[in-house]
Amino acid sequence: MRPAVLLLALILPVPLMAQQRIDRRMAVSSTASIRINDLVGMVRLVGWDRDSLVVVGELPARAGQLYFGGSTDAAKVGLEGTDTGSVVTSATLEVRVPKHARVSVRGAVVSLDAGGLEGDLDFITTAGRLHVEGAPRTVTAETLDGNVEVAGPVASLRVRTAGGTVVLRGVRGDLTVTTVSGAILIGGARISRARLETVSGEIAWKGAIERGGTLDAQTHSGNIELRLPPTLGADLELSAPSGAITSEFTLKGKPSASGTLRTSIGDGGAAITARTFRGRISLLKQPEVDANPAAPGGISGTSR
C-alpha cells in the first residue's frame, strides 16, 4: 500500500471506511418475480412504474456482499457472507421493483417498509418487521417475533406471527391472521371472510362484514372486542365459558350452560363467531360518524 493511501486509511473513521455504497440496476418485466434474500437492517421496498429493478443504499462491511442478477422474468437480490455473529442495523437499502411484480422476501432479521406495490408480496423471516402501505393484490407475511402493520385495501392478506403484534388498517376481502401471544388490532376493515386467531393475545376489530361474509375470532386467554356498524345484520355465535359477554347491541336470548350465546343482530346475513376460553367478549357499536375509521379498535393495556 502506498504511504499516502495508508495514511488516509489510518485517519479515516472506521464506519466510513467500512460502508459500501450500493447502486445496481437491471431491466425486468412488469410482472417479474423478484426474490430478495437475507437482507439486513432497514429496507425500503418501492413499487414504481418502470420495468426495472434498482437497489441503492449503503451497507456496512460486515453486512457482506450484495449479489444481484437473473433474467427479465426472475431476478434475485441478496447478501452473502453476512457476519452472523452481530446484528447489522446500520444497513439502509432501497429496492425499487415494477409495481405489479411478485416480490418474495426471505431472511432472518430485516425491517421492511413497502409502498406502491400492486402485485403479490411474500415475506417470511424469523425476526423481521413488516410495514406495508398501499394496495398489493396479496400479502403473505410470516415472522416469528416481529410486528406486522398493513395499511391499505389489500384484497387477500395472510399474516402469521408468534410474539409480534399485528395492526391492519383499511384491509378488504379475505383475511387470515394468526398469532401465539401477539395482539390482533384491526380498523376500517371491510371483509368477505376473516379468521383471527391468537392463543394469549387480544383481538380488537373495527369494521364491516359483507352480507354473507364471515368473521371468526378466537383467543384462548385474551379478550375480544368487536366494533361493528350499528346497521350491520349478522348471526352471532359467542362463546366465553369463563368470561362475560357484553353488548351495546340488543341481544336476544341468554348464554347456554356452557357459555355460548347464539343470536342475531339486524336482519342477519353475515356470520360472526367469537370464542375465548378465559377472556370476555364485548360487542360495541361503531360511531355513525367515525372520526378515524381506519384506526384499529383498542383494548386498554394492549401494547402497540
Binding site: T126, A127, V180, V199, S258
Partner: protein
C-alpha cells in the same frame, strides 16, 4: 436424644444454606461422555447430508400435516354444536408431536429455538387448560372445539417454524 436432634438440625441449617448447589468438575468430562454415547448419539446435525435429509423430511411432514389440518379447518366453525371428536383430537395432538420431534432435530439458531420454546409453552399451557376443563365437563362441544383449535394452532405454529430460514 430427641432433644438434641433439633439443635443439630438448626446448627447445620446455615451451613446448608451456604452450600453450593453446583460444583464444576475439575476437568471437562464431555469428551469422555461423548465417546461413550450409543450410536444414536452420533446423529450430528452439523453433518450437511443429515441437515438436508432432516429439512426434506420436515417439509414432507409439514405438507402431510398441512393437508390434514386444511381438510379439518375448512369445516364449519360452529363449534358449539360440533360433537366431541376425541379420536380427531388425539390425531391432531399426535401430528403436533411428530412435527415437534422433527423440528427438534433441525438446525435453527439458538435465539430462534428460544422463541419457539417460549411460544410452545404458551400453546401447551392453553392446551392443558382446555384439556382440564374438558375432563371436568366431558360432553362440552365448546370446550372440545377450543381444545381442538389450540391443538391446530400448535400444528400451524410448528409448520411456520418448519418454513423458517435455517441457520
Amino acid at each position: 436424644m430427641t432433644g438434641q436432634r433439633p439443635d443439630d438440625e438448626t446448627f447445620l441449617r446455615s451451613h446448608l444454606a451456604d452450600l453450593p448447589r453446583s460444583i464444576d468438575p475439575p476437568r471437562d468430562l464431555w469428551p469422555a461422555i461423548e465417546g461413550r454415547l450409543a450410536p444414536r448419539a452420533r446423529a450430528r446435525p452439523r453433518i450437511a447430508l443429515y441437515r438436508l435429509a432432516a429439512a426434506i423430511a420436515l417439509v414432507a411432514l409439514s405438507s402431510a400435516v398441512t393437508w390434514y389440518v386444511a381438510r379439518r379447518s375448512d369445516a364449519p366453525v360452529a363449534v358449539a354444536t360440533a360433537p366431541v371428536d376425541r379420536a380427531g383430537l388425539a390425531r391432531l395432538a399426535r401430528a403436533g408431536d411428530i412435527m415437534e420431534q422433527g423440528l427438534g432435530s433441525s438446525s435453527l439458531a439458538p435465539a430462534t429455538r428460544a422463541v419457539l420454546a417460549r411460544n410452545l409453552v404458551v400453546i401447551d399451557s392453553a392446551i392443558a387448560e382446555c384439556q382440564r376443563a374438558l375432563d371436568a365437563d366431558p360432553g362440552s362441544p365448546v370446550l372440545a372445539g377450543l381444545l381442538r383449535a389450540a391443538h391446530r394452532q400448535r400444528v400451524e405454529f410448528l409448520q411456520q417454524a418448519a418454513r423458517l430460514p435455517r441457520s
